[in-house]
């Protein structure tokens, strides 16, 4: 499952080797213009074992080269900080605690997204067949696993967006579906002292 987690890590992959390289490159170029982004998120998870979708809301800040703060406000209060390769939780006392059992892939998501925006998109292309459609103003990227072993578990990932990323959809072969939608996405402006501290920005 470790490798699967890694593939999740690639789910924000705006790769260069896509079928429509021009569009993909455009999308990538546009996204990279926003090195610090804030957004509200809504995550919905559907699983055949669950009676109804699980919904969570919160806000996030993403800073290229540093990481992401994922702040869930509802249905519980929780702040996770993803820096390259590490997941930490901001506890009630305002201190960072490393999360050992956190989903390592998630912390890699943020790292991968950063490396992608820095122009290193090969990793995603190795794992996925990427197809793009739409226009740079309104685009969709599809990621389908290239390897059969992975495809048995992961059906595909779809990203949608305009100037910013609007949604991420992860479909598992088991029928589980996770949809994250972003709203009110904007350039972050200045960071709060806490944000700077937890992301290690001097």
């Amino acid at each position: 499952m470790r490798r699967l987690i890694t593939f999740f890590a690639l789910l924000c992959a705006f790769a260069a080797h896509a079928q429509s390289p021009a569009l993909t490159d455009d999308v990538l170029g546009h996204l990279a213009k926003h090195p610090q982004v804030r957004a509200e998120f809504t995550q919905s998870r559907e699983n055949p074992a669950l009676a109804e979708p699980q919904l969570s809301h919160g806000d996030l800040i993403f800073v290229i080269g540093h990481g992401m703060v994922w702040h869930t406000r509802d249905p519980f209060e929780d702040t996770l900080v993803f820096t390259s390769g590490d997941t930490s939780r901001l506890n009630a006392q305002g201190k960072l605690e490393r999360v050992r059992d956190g989903n390592r892939g998630v912390s890699q998501v943020s790292g991968m997204l950063q490396s992608l925006l820095a122009g290193k998109s090969d990793d995603a292309a190795r794992q996925f067949t990427i197809s793009a459609d739409g226009t740079p103003e309104h685009w969709t990227l599809h990621f389908v696993p290239r390897q059969a072993r992975v495809a048995k578990v992961l059906a595909g990932i779809t990203l949608k967006g305009d100037a910013f990323l609007q949604s991420i959809e992860v479909n598992l072969a088991s029928g589980e579906r996770t949809l994250i939608t972003f709203a009110n996405t904007r350039d972050a402006g200045s960071l709060t002292p806490v944000e700077s501290t937890v992301l290690g920005i001097p």
């Binding site: 499952m1 998870r45 669950l50 919904l55 059992d101 598992l172």
Partner: protein, 784 residues
Amino acid sequence: MKSLSTTQRAGLFAFASLVVCLLCAWLLFGRGTSPLQTDVLTLLPATERHPLAEDAVERLARASGDRMVLLVHHKDDDAAKDAARELGAALAADPVFASVIAELPPFDLDQLVTPFLPFRFHLLTPEDRAALTTSGFDPVDALKRRLNQPFGANVGAKLTDDPFGWMQHWLDRQPWNRSALVPEDDMLTAHRDDGSYVLVIATLKGSSYDDVVQRQALATLERAETAMVARHPGTALLRTGAIFYAASARAGAEHDTHVVGIASTVGIALLLLLVFRSLRPLLIAFVSTALGVIGAIATTVLVFGQLHLLTLVFGAALLGEAVDYSIQYLCARANAGADWHAERGVRQVRPALLLALATSLLGYSLLAVVPFPFLRQMAVFAIAGMAIACASVFWLLPALAQKPARAPLSPSLVRLALGWQRIASGRRALLGVAVLCVVAVPGWLRLGHDDDIHLLISPPKALEAQTATIREVAGFGGGSQFWLVEGANAEEVLQREEALTDRLQTWVADGKLGGWTGISAMLPSAHRQAANIAALEPLFTPRERMSEWLGQAGFRAEGSAGFVAAYPGRAFTIDDWLAMPAYTPFRYLWMSGGKHGVGSIVVPQGQDDADLLRTASDGLPGVSLVDKPASITALFGRYRGYADVWLGGALALVGLAFVWRYGLRSAWRVLLPPAAGIVLSVAALGYLGEPLTLFHVMALMLVLGVGANYAVFLREGEPHVAHLPGAAYAGVLLSAVTALLSFGLLALSTMPALRHFGLTLLLGIGFTALLAPVSVPAPKNRTA
């Protein structure tokens, strides 16, 4: 023997020699497997108090034993993978490899999940157990948090099998999920800034130390590598594995044997030709020496069952000492001129030779006392070789040297010898020695010491660098430090290991340790599994409550029923662990069924400060840090300390022998050259900035043995050549130069221990030979 004639005795000796030669040939070549040992590990002394610890050292060293671990690197990912695929195919085509893994066999991810289902409630991470036992644990909240993790977390076990994520947490800690390598295109790969690395593992059909296997496998690898690089320029191949270390050690030793053996043989031959100006003495000297060496090989193989290549290197150097006996005899022959009588010649040199042999054997037998296989083998080799070479002088050589010499010793050598003898004897010389000894004091004061294991094992830097890169990229390869956990039974061992690893876990959290590999991360003790169940028990009593919670968190009733019904499952046992294929690569961590009891190994990662590591096991029963390099270093240091005492003792013994032979008043003169030789060579080492090692001190013992010979040869030889001033000393010089030619060449050895040995002998024998004239009164009838 007295009743036998010279020829009869020689005939018997020749017959015996022939038998020994045949025996030696059979031992070396006639038994299918070669007794030639190249594994350096077999030379290391047992350092651990417990045999289980030695077992453990062995296991760890062999964990990657008969495998080549290869990483193919290319900056382009596709090229790296294609190259690795081709390399794998090329290697697999050779039957010397039992198996080659480049492309992974098809397997189902489920195989790493499903087998754990029956045990899942017994296997909890420490964090989960702690969370479950803290008051205020809210199951519904825990479920909610898991279900709403960002990006989704439910990979691996099905959500209904593992709603809380306990099993996934557990599986995440298993070793295969901690590797830095990720399967891609069915190959294990790692990506770094400088490109892609692809893993290829080739398992040998046979031992890494088996000569035939080693050569064939390396040749095939080299061909495959060449072909791979030709097709994909820019590909680099990183390698590690015992086979490469063994091959480099073998190449080093073979190089040494050739250099020392050939160079000293040629050098000695030229020298003898020059001095005796005839071919016969040369042949005689070589027959005697060759018999010594052959006998030594046979004896060593008989005693140890094997012959280490390094012993052979040392043996090649021993030529120079074994040839001394025949040189003395041949000098006597050359000096006697037409008056030569072979048997009388033997009688003439016998006392000197026996005394010299006795002192040499004394020196070597002290080496044999050290419980150190390498030194022991050298000592046995030397003792047998010396004794046989000496015996051949008494019993074989007279028959070969019946006729008087055709030419006397080279006059220029004799003149040279006499010239120096005049300078280096008498009161003036004693004064000189005294001055030299004073000059030596600062050298002694500058002397440091070095007991590092690298004296014995010094693999090439390139190989070390590749091994380090592979360890870094792939996370493979254990160090030589580890904790040994012992106990009366499996359960006790596991519990004791947990006491250790719990402590290590806090170290990891504090950043004092990168991580550790141990069985307790895969198989908790029964006690701990019971604690896991105890932590879960309240949640499942009554079971209906758990079903309720799952429903509150959003699960359908039919989805959660299976999970609740599966509780508590069964405990994970050592047999289950052994039966699980995924754990096969880690079996070396567990020791049972051996004759030394039950135990386990815990290997630290990312920390090699032995003192710090040792504190982790402080106060834990049955747990100790085993640090083979440090143990060897400590052992070297300890023996270096003992060796000083032995050296003193040997000096005293040799002194006693001299007192017995020469009387109290003269003995000190005979002892002076070797003693001063030792003092001066130690000082020279100090001035050269060479730290003193065990091997220097061992070499000093030989300096004593060999150096005493020279004083004896001179002292005993002088009366017989009164008509030829300088001739006796010329013989000594000849012996010394042959010794320098052979032992001195050890200073060129690739192995630091032998290099130190050689350098010390070079200095010691040099000084002693130059100082030897003080052992006799100054030559009379001075002309100058």
